[in-house]
Amino acid sequence: MDIIQQIINGLSIGSVYALIAVGYSLVYSVLLFSNFAHGGFLVIGGYICYFALRSGGMNIWVASFAALIGAGVSAVLVERFAYRPIRERTPVTLYMLIASMGMSIVIENIFVVTIGGRFRALPPVIPMEPVNVFGLATTSAFDLLSLATAVVFLIGLQLFLVKTKWGLAIRAASYNLKTAGLMGVNVNRLIAIVFFVAGLLAAVGGIFLSARYTLYPQLGSMITTKAFVAAVLGGLGSLPGAVIGSLILGLAEMLTAGFISSQFRDLVVFGILIITLIMRPTGLFGKSVGEKV
């Protein structure tokens, strides 16, 4: 059953995109700008994991932990030094969008300059052997593992947002940041938390992507584009939308690669973006305008 295998592959890659798209969407929902440096966080996570494994000789758990924390902290620093000075001066979010494009180039080139632009493969620390799924299809342990990990982290995010005080504050801020500030929320701390979470989730995605494909400085901008498409498809700023959009994207990619040709993959991705923008610009779960009080 080839199709079931492709569907599992699609869900697996889609769930990794979801980790990235959700963080991207979270930032968008609170600050209302498209953070194009988001992919940079996953590259930072990927490289930390790579060097922790290669040079540090750490096991995958320690290396991943370091990658998650490192990427989270980098995201907080990017916000602190590149975006905060702008948002404290002007309410126009376009300037942050431009700054994020700049930061994306900065992060990319820091890696090119310091460690070079060559493609690197993560050591084979994540099991890849084939697994038989209920006798229906054969897939790799890697696919199932990345799917399971993504689900665990997405559930973790959901629990954080629903069960904790800061999670509630983030949901309130994604509706109205200014009013959240009037409730006694330290807005700068809230935004730092949002960026930490976004960076951390991106690093999880980054580790799986660099194990599936290879790691190189420009990986970030390619994946940012996909996360952007997934987020627009699901509805910008909506977290369930980002997850569903990512799964659709992953499925579309894998089914295209499996049954048509892998060269058509990106064509399909951007085709989906264009069709979404024409047919339903607010996306599947987009906020409809009209809630204005």
Partner: protein, 243 residues
């Protein structure tokens, strides 16, 4: 006997929006337990004054004191110090439930018992909110949203409650209800209030004292009962609405 110190005191407050001066050195005092109204036309600087107290807009000049101490400049510190605002247009968190909105109001508090007590107070004042705890705030009627905005501001256990246009966009019968509840909050809990209103008659009937704000300046102050019968005020703000 009249030597009490104000709980909230604004001195020569100036706020600029670019080249435009929205507040040109306004001063006012709110004494413990009283309701003070600021009336004025659209664009007089009423909301600006609220936002400047709350730290939402920058104070270019002048000072704000809470109980004699300079009030912090960042919003979250202002709320923590004991001043909270029910903002203009209510601004409830539409996609959150009524309960979650109230929990957001209690954000600066960490003691669960205190939060539970405050919640009980709000529910006593607004039983309608208690019936709707799991309903999304966006689905409430305008009046209920205003009750939620007031309840939410009370959850922070403020010493001074600021209300920005509590009557905005509401039907007269609902306005009466809301204003009756404000009087109740003031009498039951002794919370001092500063209310800015376009609906001058209602605001003067609610408050003990009032200030008249005109294009960024306080031009008049006095007892509300006296201002209500001041011919100038009647002509400018209460015209023709006499009952």
């Amino acid at each position: 006997m009249e030597e009490r110190n104000p709980i909230l005191s604004i001195k020569n407050l100036v706020v600029n929006y670019g080249a435009i001066q929205a507040l040109k050195g306004a001063s006012l005092d709110v004494y413990p337990g009283e309701i003070v109204a600021v009336i004025g036309a659209n664009g007089a600087g009423k909301s600006t004054m609220m936002n400047a107290i709350m730290g939402v807009v920058k104070r270019a000049c002048g000072e704000v004191f809470l109980d004699g101490e300079p009030l912090a400049e960042k919003s979250y510190q202002v709320v923590k110090a004991g001043v909270s605002l029910a903002p203009e247009g209510r601004n409830v968190f539409a996609p959150l439930t009524v309960m979650e909105n109230l929990q957001m109001g209690a954000f600066p508090l960490s003691n669960r018992k205190v939060i539970a007590t405050e919640l009980e107070k709000v529910f006593t004042l607004f039983p309608r909110l208690k019936e709707r705890t799991s309903q999304y705030a966006g689905t409430l009627s305008g009046g209920e949203q205003q009750m939620l905005a007031i309840g939410r501001a009370m959850m922070a256990k403020p010493r001074v409650l600021l209300l920005d246009e509590p009557s905005l966009g509401l039907a007269p019968i609902i306005i009466n209800e809301i204003f009756a509840e404000l009087t109740e909050i003031n009498q039951l809990f002794g919370i001092a209030m500063l209310v800015v209103e376009q609906n001058a008659r209602k605001a003067l009937m609610l408050s003990n004292r009032a200030y008249v704000l005109q294009t960024g300046n306080i031009i008049l102050e006095g007892k509300s009962s006296e201002l209500l019968h001041n011919p100038e005020i009647e002509a400018a703000y209460l015209c023709g609405k006499k009952k």
